[in-house]
């Protein structure tokens, strides 16, 4: 365990010294601050828009950071040959992968905490308040970005970082549309049974990011404006995230286990 923690700590240190992270964080903060202007233009209670846009900003930039970390961090170890230092040490490749994932997850937690801090401050300044429902929303966002991280990590074990990055973003968009795919397949509106089967299959195989989509209109499955957004739901979604992450890390491990580190 100490070896995994050592790798995680080193990964955290590495990502914290990466300027790209700070640039992304800056954009996220700007977008959260920008939500104030949008809120003022709104005809309704401005805090509703601040909450929606703020959470969307945290989710969006959390996703971008997760994809960036997932496709670059392990790839950089290979490219810069630091992997020649670490793999011959007395550890399994699984420990290396878990350490890297843990370190990147810790980075994401820190980023989300910073973004959430700014978000809550803005909300407080405009008469809104920190509520349990917002905390639930942030827990779901964290679960979502960790799933994206694991997906990006797996894709980076199959291909180069740029392609893996684009594929991860594509999967995110598809995953957010998973509910739509399911509804379309079940409605039979397509007229093709093969397409319905395909959509059904995609719904089950692709990550269901719709589970975590907490901001947006009130007709969404999960809305911070609704009262059905319970801890049980958060637990269910987090459980789903955990299973998906384990599957992704398992597949990445299969790829990495016998990979020649040339």
């Amino acid at each position: 365990m100490d070896r995994i923690l050592a790798i995680a700590g080193n990964t955290l240190r590495e990502t914290n010294r990466n300027r790209v992270m700070y640039v992304l964080l800056l954009f996220a903060v700007l977008m959260i601050l920008g939500s104030v202007t949008m809120g003022k233009l709104s005809l309704r209670d401005p805090t509703i828009l601040i909450k929606d846009l703020g959470l969307a900003a945290i989710s969006l930039f959390g996703m971008i950071i997760a994809v960036y970390l997932g496709v670059t961090v392990v790839h950089r170890e290979l490219e810069q040959k630091t992997v020649y230092f670490i793999i011959p040490k007395p550890l399994h490749r699984t420990e290396f992968l878990l350490g890297k994932f843990l370190g990147m997850s810790a980075t994401l937690v820190i980023q989300l905490v910073v973004m959430s801090g700014v978000f809550f401050m803005v909300l407080l300044a405009y008469g809104g308040g920190a509520s349990v429902i917002l905390l639930k929303a942030l827990v779901l966002t964290l679960a979502e970005v960790l799933v994206i991280l694991s997906v990006a990590l797996f894709l980076s074990s199959l291909t180069g970082p740029i392609l893996a990055g684009f594929l991860s973003l594509a999967l995110f968009v598809l995953g957010r549309s998973s509910e739509f795919m399911r509804q379309l397949a079940e409605s039979g509106k397509t007229g093709w049974s093969a397409l319905d089967t395909l959509l059904h299959g995609a719904y089950y195989v692709l990550p269901d990011f719709h589970l975590f989509a907490v901001s947006g209109a009130v007709n969404q499955r999960v809305s911070i404006h609704g009262d059905f957004f319970t801890w049980a739901y958060v637990g269910h979604a987090s459980g789903y995230a955990l299973v998906y992450i384990i599957i992704m890390l398992g597949l990445t491990m299969v790829r990495l286990r016998r990979k020649d580190l040339v």
Binding site: D2, R3, A6, I7, N10, R13, E14, R17, Q80, K81, T82, V83, Y84, F85, I86, I87, P88, K89, P90, L91, H92, R258, D260, L261, V262
Partner: protein
């Protein structure tokens, strides 16, 4: 070629007999890299241990055979040098030892276990070729990380890190980030991380590259210290003068094949490049005309045979090429009453051997 192969088999065979204490044992090791996007089906089938396949000429353009049928063993407590020109397969072999890449065929065992194996890695220290470490870490942070990964306890870490930095000449760079290190300093910190857990086997890939003469001497001394402590050291190098000084045995790898293996004196003494015979007339000032004639006759003999000869005053220096028997010249000289001043066989240097094997 067949003769050479038989000889190699004898050499590796004799080593294999002593493998009761073998630390590393490579058997018929092969590594083929697939070049290109789509792997070829035929090649994919050959990826089992102990199973060898002949390369199919049709698939040759899409594959690179980095190591071919390499067998050797390294005994406990010895310093073994892996020599070869660039691209000969030394680093590939070392990477297979470290579990960084996997053999296409054959087997490599370290401490009797097939690698990669965590228990084996605990007894193993490794310095990669042209190492690149986490340059955002300070020297002490980097060694702390290395020690933690190797399972060194906190108390030992506290004493071992400064001690090792001192040993590799980096005591004053304790708090400096690695990005500010010169190439030689990176090489030294690489040595320190390889030794952090006091391993029984140390594998160093080009440990002398990038070092100035003083640094090279320090590393040579350090390797000597490791031998004195009973450690086994395997290293690859291009700096042959250092290899000659340090190594107990060497293996020469050329184009993926092991061309020669053995103790340096065995490998080199068997190869006499030339024998220099120096003769002197009975009267060195050539006062006797008969002596002059005799010396001229000996010079003519060398000329007839095509042996380079040089006459200076009453002395004649003849260079007999290769392993030519000097008996004929000596008999003739003695019959003619000349004095034999010296018969000096010149043996091959490691550089001669290296160049010859590389050019084969």
């Amino acid at each position: 070629m067949a003769e050479q192969q038989t000889k190699l088999e004898e050499q590796t065979g004799s080593v294999a007999e002593e493998t009761a204490e073998a630390v590393i044992r490579a058997t018929a090791l092969c590594k083929t890299f697939v070049v290109g996007f789509i792997p070829i089906a035929k090649l994919a089938k050959s990826g089992t241990q102990d199973q060898r396949t002949e390369p199919d000429p049709k698939v040759m353009p899409r594959q690179v055979e980095a190591v071919k049928d390499l067998s050797f063993s390294v005994r406990a407590g010895e310093i073994f040098g892996l020599l070869g020109p660039n691209g000969s397969g030394k680093t590939t072999t070392i990477k297979m030892m470290m579990g960084l890449i996997f053999p296409t065929a054959g087997r490599i065992e370290v401490f009797g276990e097939t690698v990669p194996n965590v228990a084996v890695k605990r007894r193993l220290g490794y310095l990669p070729e042209n190492p690149n470490f986490y340059d955002y870490l300070r020297a002490d942070e980097f060694l702390e990380l290395s020690a933690r990964l190797c399972g060194v306890d906190k108390k030992t870490r506290r004493s071992r890190i400064p001690e090792l930095l001192e040993r590799v000449g980096l005591a004053e760079a304790l708090n400096r980030p690695l990005r500010k290190f010169s190439k030689g300093m990176v090489q030294r910190i690489g040595l320190a991380q390889a030794l952090i857990h006091d391993p029984d086997l140390v594998v160093l890939d080009e440990p002398l590259s990038g070092l100035d003469p003083l640094g090279r001497k320090q590393v040579r001394d350090l390797i000597g210290d490791l031998r004195d402590q009973g450690k086994t050291v395997v290293f690859s190098s291009h700096i042959l003068s250092d290899v000659e000084v340090i190594c107990d045995r060497v293996g020469i790898v050329v184009r993926g094949h092991l061309r020669d293996i053995g103790k340096l004196d065995e490998l080199l003494s068997a190869r006499v490049t030339e024998t220099e015979v120096v003769l002197e007339a009975a009267t060195p000032d050539l006062a006797d005309l008969a002596d002059l004639a005799n010396l001229a006759n000996l010079a003519n003999l060398a000329d007839e045979k095509g042996w380079p000869a040089q006459r200076k005053g009453g002395r004649l220096r003849i260079s007999l090429p290769g392993e030519t028997d000097p008996g004929e010249v000596l008999r003739r000289a003695l019959d003619d009453g000349a004095r034999v001043i010296s018969v000096m066989p010149h043996t091959e240097s490691l550089e001669d051997l290296f160049v010859r094997e590389a050019n084969k």
